[in-house]
């Protein structure tokens, strides 16, 4: 029972992280550039929901499409300022420009909303569903549902629409895509819009149960970067897998002594499953993956040419 609760919690967090990581990897694929403001954009999504609700207290579910659209517009702005002017420069330049964007976003949020943690409105209202000792908060269910929906939507976009197929083509070979009629600059801008919209939605979803503060960005950014590296640099399913793994490490790993009480005496006081230890173990795992299998778990050679 408890294991199921943990699993559910991990799925909830993993779903939110997956959105962030997906947004990150889409931009990475399309441009080869690392968007280091992705984490701060998650934070902005949370505040966007809060701001919209303060301005007009609409039901939470209406906020979702509004935040989606607003963040998409912000994504275009980020592309225009931090990416397009630097297209022909070495990739580290975009690293720095997006770091600068992150600084602007973080301090802007601090000035506009203050530094205290705040809560965004709930999507489906408060309340929870109880099954025995298991608790499924409505917001948690909303997170999983929205994330699943968006991921499914992305999948449909990419495999069943011309626009989505062309986005993929642009990411795989921009020069040839251009030569067969695809407006590649527009595609790249659209990819930024989608990537940032995903981050914003994740932020809106997380900001209810886990609050939002201006300094949240760094944590989400690191998680996205790690998820994409573990899952496979450039792989879309890999980003989801990587995000899930991180959530597992965050939620399930530290709870193992509670799940398996026999572990406790065996450990003999060694803090192998503390919250800090889970970070160290995850870090060690990342280093091992980088050294022995740098292409990540799912980063198979999908680009092999005959």
């Amino acid at each position: 029972m408890f294991a199921l609760q943990l699993l559910f919690n991990a799925i909830v967090l993993g779903a939110a992280y997956a959105l962030v990581a997906l947004g990150f990897v889409l931009v990475l694929n399309a441009t080869g550039a690392v968007n280091f403001s992705q984490g701060d954009l998650v934070m902005v999504g949370g505040y966007a929901g809060l701001a919209l609700f303060t301005w007009y207290p609409a039901p939470g579910i209406l906020l979702l499409p509004l935040v989606l659209l607003g963040m998409a517009a912000l994504g275009l702005l980020v592309a225009l300022t931090a990416y397009f002017p630097l297209r022909r420069r070495p990739p580290e330049t975009v690293f720095i420009s997006t770091i600068a964007i992150g600084i602007i976003l973080q301090n802007g949020a601090n000035l506009l909303f203050g530094p205290e943690p705040k809560r965004a409105p709930a999507l489906l209202g408060e309340g929870e569903i109880r099954v025995g000792t298991l608790v499924f908060g409505l917001q948690s269910i909303a997170i999983v549902a929205v994330a699943a929906g968006l991921i499914a939507g992305l999948h449909i976009l990419f495999s069943h629409t011309q626009f989505g197929r062309r986005l993929r083509a642009t990411a795989q070979d921009r020069e040839v895509a251009s030569a067969i009629g695809i407006p590649v600059d527009f595609m790249v801008a659209a990819t930024f819009a989608v990537g940032v919209a995903l981050a914003g939605v994740a932020g809106l979803l997380l900001a209810r149960g886990f609050f939002v503060t201006p300094t949240d960005g760094a944590n989400y950014m690191l998680k996205a970067y790690v998820a994409v590296t573990i899952g496979g640099w450039g792989s879309i399913p890999g980003a989801v897998v990587g995000a899930g793994l991180i959530a597992l490490f965050e939620v399930v790993y530290p709870a193992l002594p509670a799940l398996f009480p026999a572990l406790v005496p065996a450990l003999d006081g060694l803090p192998l499953f503390s919250q800090n230890a889970s970070v160290i173990v995850l870090d060690a795992l990342i280093l091992l993956i980088l050294v022995f299998r740098p292409q990540g778990i799912l980063g198979a050679a999908t680009k092999a040419r005959a």
Partner: protein, 370 residues
């Protein structure tokens, strides 16, 4: 004749003006970074005190951000101290305070701070004045309340990996050791931890009958939420992080049932008429609720201003006054113990589960000699 009268009146007015002492107290607090909330409380409390000075005193102030790193704080201090102010309101971040101490020594300017880190008054620096009870006082209060009033026998200790958390944790352990009751479970949490289920489960599995928390405001609220929804009916005695209005506002009143916290004072409980008018004035000016940090800083600046009104108009005189006199502030009476610790009592506040306004249920005064 009228003109002479008018001239005399003018002269009298100027003479009166000339009697008003004008002093400067720069305010150096973290306004960005992870302690920005607490820094804002410091700033607000200081400003409220400085804008309602005693008669004959007029204060100019300059607010500067110290961020999170020690060197930025030291730079800010050098800049402020170079203008030869009377005193300086200093950040509550321990590492920044430690870095600032040598500079204060050099400029011989008193620092008015509310940092809880024990070490800052143990460096033999006569210019540091701490208006917040140190961690030993507050944690002793927290532990004593838990053990004596709540009858806790198997406490679990959950603390933050930050400076605030680690020094609080050390003091909790010392207090528990003095009482001969070891914790059944301890865990340090990073501020970014979101899911509190594992730590709660492990505490319960260890057989804890209460949770002693020492977390920042956001994580405190997260843990309380998780405890409530996970059905953990354990009494929780939290640290001052929970007493901040920003933390309480994140919670539903029902999630605060059987929850207590230690703090230096609880302005929102408005125990005395003076506290009541402070609460109203603070709300009017800042459109927010004050916490114990704001009160402590308000009192600290208030003590300095009262000393100025009594004639301590130079840094040296002020230092002497702060070190040797006592001051009846809003939260408590402040008096130096010889090392710069001015505050020696803490309170325990408890929530009834129906409102967000706690009641003060206990006062603890630290009379232990040094």
């Amino acid at each position: 004749m009228k003109r002479i009268a008018a001239a005399c009146l003018l002269l009298a007015a100027f003479a009166h003006e000339a009697n008003a002492v004008e002093i400067t107290i720069p305010v150096l607090v973290p306004l960005t970074g992870f302690l920005a909330t607490e820094g804002a409380s410091q700033r607000n409390g200081a400003i409220l005190a400085m804008t309602t000075p005693p008669a004959g005193v007029s204060v100019t102030y300059d607010v500067s951000d110290t961020g999170v790193s020690p060197e930025v704080a030291v730079n800010a201090l050098e800049r402020a101290a170079g203008e030869a102010p009377l005193a300086i309101v200093a950040p509550m971040l321990g590492t920044q305070m430690l870095a600032m101490l040598p500079v204060a020594l050099e400029y011989k300017t008193p620092l008015l701070t509310i940092s809880g880190t024990a070490a800052i008054t143990r460096q033999g620096n006569p210019y540091v004045f701490r208006f917040f009870p140190d961690d030993a006082t507050t944690k002793t209060a927290q532990v004593r309340y838990a053990l004596e009033s709540k009858g806790v026998k198997r406490p679990a200790v959950i603390y933050q990996t930050t400076a605030y958390g680690q020094s609080g944790h050390a003091e909790i352990l010392k207090a528990l050791k003095r009482a001969g009751i070891p914790p059944v479970y301890e865990e340090a949490l990073d501020v970014s931890v979101k899911d509190m289920t594992p730590v709660l489960a492990k505490a319960r599995a260890a057989g804890a009958d209460a949770l002693l928390l020492h977390l920042h405001s956001g994580p405190s609220a997260l843990l309380l939420k998780a405890a409530a929804s996970g059905g953990y009916r354990l009494p929780i005695i939290a640290g001052s992080g929970l007493s901040q209005p920003s933390a309480v506002d994140l919670l539903e009143p029902s999630e605060l049932a059987d929850v207590c916290a230690e703090t230096s004072s609880s302005p929102i409980s408005a125990e005395t008429p003076a506290m009541r008018s402070f609460l109203d004035a603070y709300r009017r000016r800042f459109n927010a609720d004050p916490d114990g940090f704001a009160v402590a800083q308000y009192d600290g600046v208030g003590m300095a201003l009262e000393a100025v009104a009594k004639g301590a108009t130079t840094p040296a005189a002020l230092t002497q006054a702060l070190a040797s006199t006592s001051y009846a502030g809003l939260a408590m009476t402040y008096r130096s113990d010889g090392h710069g610790d001015m505050a020696h009592s803490a309170v325990i506040i408890c929530y009834d589960g129906k409102t967000r306004i706690p009641t003060v249920v206990a006062h603890y005064t630290n009379d232990a000699p040094d």
